[in-house]
Symmetry: C2
Subunit: 307 residues, 2 copies
């Protein structure tokens, strides 16, 4: 299913020493054990990690990237082994989140946070972006989790966690699925279901406007489940983010996704807070929880590019 920490250690040693045989000595195992582990690792990743030669093993580009991940993972593992004594955090955190976030992003994290810090009371409210900004500035809430791209108030600090690409949703066996490439012009000819919640319609205009095309709107709805059902039943198409995508609708019919030729802005989910406020320990822990799961996001831009 997935790889092991053993695979990782053997891989790192081989990458650093450049030879399976030397890595095997370093690890105090036989050369064949290391060879086998690397072969398994490459199989589960589905990628070549090294180019083999009679001199040794040289990392491929994928191997280099995986090595960086490997360093991160073993660092976290070693960190986890150190039993620093800590105090259990106590207190309250007043959160607000927008419709999409509260339904499709937060649940698993709220669950985990309540397990990791059970003595912290999490109060969560659903708000529109505007209400959320006001509540932050009023001091009614501590932190918001929202779609960060539409936030431009300078009194509010934001930190993007997740960038979820938007794609075209189609019913299964739709003729457009046969095409090599798809563009907004193709979408404009189809009946379109426009989601109106969380400023989705406003965001949609950001990528429709420059094309001088417009979607042939069959229905405007605030329910993602409605979009899902209508698309699944073959009555329309829509462009929505991967975060809210599920392959099956409530009725059990399948939905397909396709990339579009035009660059569609991704849906960005992140934390927002009032720039002037001090961070309480609980707020810090909350932020740290997300940061450590999603990494420092601004730099992932530098390291990877979209497909």
């Amino acid at each position: 299913m997935s790889y092991n920490l053993r695979h990782l250690r053997y891989f790192i040693a081989t990458a650093e020493l450049g030879q399976v045989s030397r890595a095997a000595i370093e690890l105090s195992v036989s050369q064949s054990a290391v060879t086998a582990a690397i072969r398994e690792l490459e199989a589960t990743l589905g990628t070549q990690l090294f180019t083999r030669s009679s001199h040794g093993m040289a990392l491929t580009e994928a191997g280099r990237r995986f090595l960086a991940s490997g360093y991160e993972i073993v660092a976290k593992v070693e960190e986890s082994l150190q039993a620093a004594d800590t105090v259990a955090l106590t207190g309250e955190l007043r959160l607000a989140a927008s419709y999409t976030v509260i339904g499709y992003f937060l649940p698993v994290h709220l669950d985990r946070l309540s397990r990791v810090m059970p003595e912290v009371t999490l109060r969560v409210r659903e708000m529109t972006r505007q209400a959320l900004e006001d509540a932050l500035l009023d001091g009614q809430i501590d932190i918001g989790v929202a779609l960060t791209s539409n936030i431009s108030n300078h009194a509010i600090a934001k930190e993007t966690l997740l960038s979820s690409p938007r794609r075209l949703w189609l019913p299964s066996r739709h003729p457009l699925l046969e095409r090599e490439t798809l563009g907004l012009a193709d979408v404009a000819r189809e009946p379109y279901v426009m989601l109106t919640v969380d400023e989705a319609a406003h965001t949609a205009m950001r990528y429709w406007a420059p094309t001088s095309l417009q979607p042939n709107v069959l229905l405007r709805t605030s329910s993602i489940e409605a979009v899902r059902s209508i698309v699944a039943n073959g009555q329309g198409v829509s462009i929505l983010s991967d975060m809210v995508y599920r392959p099956w609708s409530l009725e059990g019919r399948r939905i397909e996704v396709a990339d579009l030729r035009e660059p569609i802005p991704a849906m960005e989910v992140g934390l927002v807070w009032c720039r002037n406020n001090e961070f309480s320990p609980v707020m810090n822990a909350f932020r740290y929880y997300f940061r450590s799961l999603f990494g420092a996001p601004q730099s992932s831009v530098a390291l990877s590019r979209p497909a």
Copy 2:
């Protein structure tokens, strides 16, 4: 030696479901396998992760902390499985670092970075803090790695990565090692070796000054190896950070460490850069490399307290 990803998965499932038996069903393994894995995990960690009862398993405080680590690790593992296509970074990074950092912190990371991004040329120079600040502002270097506690120029941004506590170094079989607790007053009676490099002497005064005591300085030297040898030979003691500590001196004699009663500021190593400059992709990758290894440092203050 250490635990497995299997241990981690079994632990997380048990923590989330609150029962070994339910976790076993969820994981499609037998109850005894999960019980055994958790027992092994607790043994390798040397800590109780759960309190057992006939109702199920409740996390201890250590368990909650380990659960948070577990979430981080599996998140990194899953991230590593996604083979996002990337471009190899190319370019140059002009680094500067101070004596201590270049000798005791950077080497392994420069080695790893050159493996992860071989097409980036890393130019490293040793500089004093003042020269480093000037070079940053002049634009002669891109990023510095230095002891961040003495940097107070507002034009320079800093991000602390590592906080290494300072302790008393003693030769083995020194009488002070018998004591229950040690304070600076005890140290003041011993011959003291003062390291002069990287503003160490200046830093030392920060914690000697409030006591109205002063160290009985036998020797001032800019060589850490000299301090190590003199302490190991029983001719003096010193207070230095764990980062530069090694149990053996060059001659093979042992050095012991002891905590002091007074709070001694830790040695803080971090990145520094010119606040006005834009981050190049290479600079971003460099920063990201360290961030992901050392975590978001400011919040570790909130999550843990010193022993």
